[in-house]
């Protein structure tokens, strides 16, 4: 590991026999930070790809097919929030925003544009890697737990845990992995009311109190995809003062 610290940014070929490395697209105009990120990511077993311009980010994304995108909010050429929207329009790839201003609307805008999570500068390498791992892990939420049926019902939706799919009356609904995890977390315990903090821990992997705006924004995004009337949600129901719970399953 240590030996590779001072290797160049370019390269990143996997040695035969190792499992394929997860490819991470780093979109940041700060060359020093990008290089440092590449070093850290490579150290942690990822394959970083760097793009310095907002207006070239989408092309780079299409070309490299990354497993995750690290996206700075302030970018030359095209705003990070817009880039996020562009990528989300054609892919469900996990997107983690890098932001210097946590108290502004930037964060909420980025999340609304489809970012799954954000990391505030200055972050620690371990913190960033933990966030990336959580987003890439798809475990254990994405697999069938012991003694659990393969399909779960929530509202008038049917979730196939193994198939990672959600259907309403046979019609599949496209969700990002994060949205799927969020819905699955609620559907697995329909009797439980989830506080935002609990959801942050289960879905985002935050062990300590974090920004509850993450939950709020993603519940809104999820509702806009699965609810018949997002103004009057029946599947992800708000419990005032506490959090959210799953709607009653509807048997057709």
């Amino acid at each position: 590991m240590v030996g590779g610290v001072f290797d160049g940014v370019a390269g990143g070929s996997t040695e035969p026999g190792e499992p394929p490395r997860a490819r991470v697209l780093v979109v940041d105009d700060d060359a020093a930070l990008a290089e440092m990120l590449s070093i850290v990511l490579r150290n942690e077993g990822f394959e970083p790809v760097w793009c310095a311009y907002g207006d070239k980010a989408l092309a780079s994304f299409r070309e490299n097919h990354p497993d995750l995108v690290l996206l700075d909010v302030m970018l030359p050429g095209r705003d990070g929030v817009d880039v996020c929207r562009d990528i989300r329009a054609e892919s469900d790839v996990p997107i983690v925003m890098l932001t210097a201003k946590t108290d502004t609307v930037d964060v909420v805008e980025g999340l609304e544009a489809g970012a799954d999570d954000y990391v505030a500068k200055p972050f620690k390498a371990k913190e960033l890697v933990a966030r990336i791992r959580t987003r890439l892990r798809r475990l254990p939420t994405g697999t069938v737990e012991e003694g659990e049926a393969d399909t779960l019902a929530i509202g008038d939706l049917v979730i196939s845990v193994d198939g990672h799919s959600v259907k309403r009356g046979g019609t599949p609904i496209s969700l990002t992995p994060l949205e799927f995890d969020l819905l699955l977390a609620l559907a697995r315990r329909p009797w439980q009311v989830f506080s935002r903090e609990v959801l942050l821990e289960q879905v985002w992997g935050y062990r300590h109190a974090a920004d509850t705006r993450l939950v709020n924004v993603h519940v809104q995004r999820l509702r806009s995809k699965i609810e018949r009337d997002p103004e009057h949600p029946e599947i992800v129901v708000t419990v005032r003062g506490i959090g959210y719970k799953a709607g009653e399953p509807v048997r057709a």
Partner: protein
């Protein structure tokens, strides 16, 4: 006067107070608070005085004039009547048996007839103890003095009198004229003519009525005019006052209406100019301050990207330090820890700039402060162990309040870390108490403490107790300043107490309901565990126990001039 005072003194005190309070204080304060009222009532009182005086003089002159005229005409008439009577007496046939009485009676009735029944005058003749009256005035109408003088004087005498009637009519003012008639051979007779002033009295009554009613109307009119004039002056002045108040409350865009060219218009113009000037100045200042705050915020943000790189690089070096030589390894460690400090400094700077910009918002939710305290205490477990401090929490009462948990946690974390770092291994106590209106948390340590005069300075930004002293403990120097801002945002108090050698106590008090105004705190500002005798001042018996404590703390306390108090000064 003295009797009145005596009566007032016997009244119950409360009633007296009420009399004093309600009876004349209220109108008095009204009087002093309203300019139009003052002007109007002054004009009213002055015009009443002037008109009463004027009316009095007028009536006096008129009465004198009327009376003089009457006196003159009555004198003439009386002279004529007396001379006529004398002539008739002289011409009377005095031959034979003369019935003087009959003669005099004829004379009297004759006069009465000649006065035309208009009651111009009435005649009374007194002869030889006999009174002959013509008309309805009785002899009582003639003053005794006049009678006596007429006996001796040859002249026509006149004097004011009261005319008394023989019927039920009330007596009226009048003039009585008297003279002596001589009847040859029969001696002197006194003839009196009584002139009632009925006519004149009624004339004067009409005049008085006219004067009084005119006076009253004049007073009313003058008062009304004064009120109108006062209003005319006061309304623009009030406008000006309102405009000034508006300015004072921050509505710098408000302007006064300018009408005409008079002094008030000029006042309005000056006020408007002043407002415009103030608006300009304030706008400039706030722009400057915004630029400055923006700059601080931008600097903090701009520093973040390179700091991220540096921090990650430091982490990589830190993780690899086992492979370095000892000097490089130690450098990597220092780099790592100092970066932590650098980052918290940056965060604190950003937080302070947020407060300065007024961008800090309170999101108050009912929260039990006990929970926050427990969380903070739990999080500082490693520090507690590192310093070997015995930490205990004492809670009493309901400690739920509407607070921003994140900010309260930050305050308490700050106070607790400070207390532990300055405890010098002595126990640290966290006191928690609530009453009906407020909840308070106090953090008490028994460490080095600080001078009483520094109780306020500790909250200043980057303040150091002793600049010469080396920094041994961490902290950005902004912690207490931020805590103070957080407390203020809650409408709460954050107070510090300290004495060299006796330790320190910091107390946070927040209102139970967000937005309430604090009046007292459930916890005292000074520690309860202080030796009683250490309190200087009010307790007289405390001084007697000096020996038990020893000299040190007491001299310090006495020198500090500290006084007990429950709120922040």
């Amino acid at each position: 006067m003295r009797r009145l005072v005596g009566v007032v003194a016997t009244l119950p005190a409360r009633l007296r107070a009420r009399l004093r309070g309600r009876w004349w204080r209220e109108p008095l304060s009204w009087w002093s608070s309203s300019l139009p009222l003052r002007v109007t009532s002054t004009v009213f009182l002055a015009s009443v005085v002037v008109l009463v005086l004027g009316g009095f003089l007028l009536m006096q002159q008129a009465t004198a004039g009327v009376l003089n005229g009457k006196r003159e005409s009555a004198g003439n008439e009386a002279r004529q009547a007396v001379s006529t009577a004398q002539t008739r007496l002289n011409n009377a046939d005095l031959t034979g048996e003369v019935n003087v009485d009959q003669l005099l009676l004829d004379l009297a009735t004759g006069f009465a007839g000649s006065s035309g029944g208009s009651e111009q005058y009435q005649v009374i003749i007194i002869a030889r103890g006999q009174t002959i009256t013509a008309g309805d005035a009785t002899a009582e109408s003639i003053p005794a003095e006049l009678r006596a003088q007429v006996e001796t004087s040859p002249d026509l005498l006149m004097t004011p009198t009261r005319v008394v009637y023989d019927d039920d009519r009330p007596p009226v003012a009048g003039l009585a004229a008297g003279s002596a008639l001589t009847l040859a051979g029969n001696g002197r007779y006194a003839i009196f003519l009584v002139f009632p002033l009925t006519q004149e009295a009624s004339t004067l009554a009409v005049l008085r009525y006219a004067v009084v009613s005119t006076g009253a109307v004049l007073v009313l009119m003058l008062t009304l005019i004064a009120a109108l004039v006062a209003r005319q002056v006061v309304v623009p002045v009030r406008d000006a006052r309102r405009a000034a108040e508006n300015l004072a409350s921050g509505n710098l865009h408000d302007r006064m209406r300018v009408r005409g060219q008079d002094d008030l218009a000029r006042l309005a113009t000056s006020m408007n100019d002043m407002a415009a000037e103030m608006e300009k100045q304030i706008t400039t200042l706030s722009e400057l301050s915004q630029v400055q705050q923006r700059f601080v915020s931008d600097v903090s943000h701009e520093l973040r990207t390179p700091l991220t790189t540096v921090r990650m690089a430091a982490e990589v070096l830190h993780d690899a330090r086992d492979d370095f030589d000892p000097v490089s390894a130690r450098s990597a460690e220092l780099l790592q820890t100092e970066l932590d400090r650098f980052e918290s400094l940056l965060n604190d700077l950003l937080e302070i700039s947020r407060f300065d910009a007024g961008a800090a918002v309170l999101t108050a939710v009912p929260t039990d402060l006990r929970g926050i305290v427990d969380r903070v205490v739990e999080a500082q477990e490693p520090l507690v162990r590192a310093y070997g401090v015995q930490l205990s929490v004492h809670a009493t009462g309901d400690t739920t309040a509407e607070v921003d948990a994140r900010r309260i946690e930050r305050i308490l974390r700050n106070l607790l870390v400070n207390a532990i770092e300055h405890s010098e291994g002595h126990p640290v106590d966290v006191l928690l108490a609530g009453d009906d209106h407020a909840v308070a948390v106090a953090v008490r340590d028994h460490g080095v403490g600080f001078e009483a005069s520094q109780a306020k300075q500790v909250f200043l930004r980057f303040w150091r107790a002793d600049p010469a002293r080396a920094r041994t403990v961490g902290g950005t120097g902004l912690g207490l300043a931020i805590s103070m801002e957080d407390a203020n945002l809650h409408g709460g108090w954050l107070t510090g107490w300290g004495r060299p050698g006796l330790g320190a106590q910091f107390r946070l008090t927040v209102p139970r309901r967000a937005g309430d105004v604090l009046e007292t705190s459930p916890l005292p500002m000074t520690p309860r565990d202080l030796p009683v005798l250490a309190l200087p001042g009010p307790e007289p018996d405390a001084l007697g126990e000096d020996e038990r404590v020893g000299e040190g703390p007491i001299t310090v306390l006495a020198a500090s001039g500290w006084q007990p108090g429950r709120g922040p000064a």
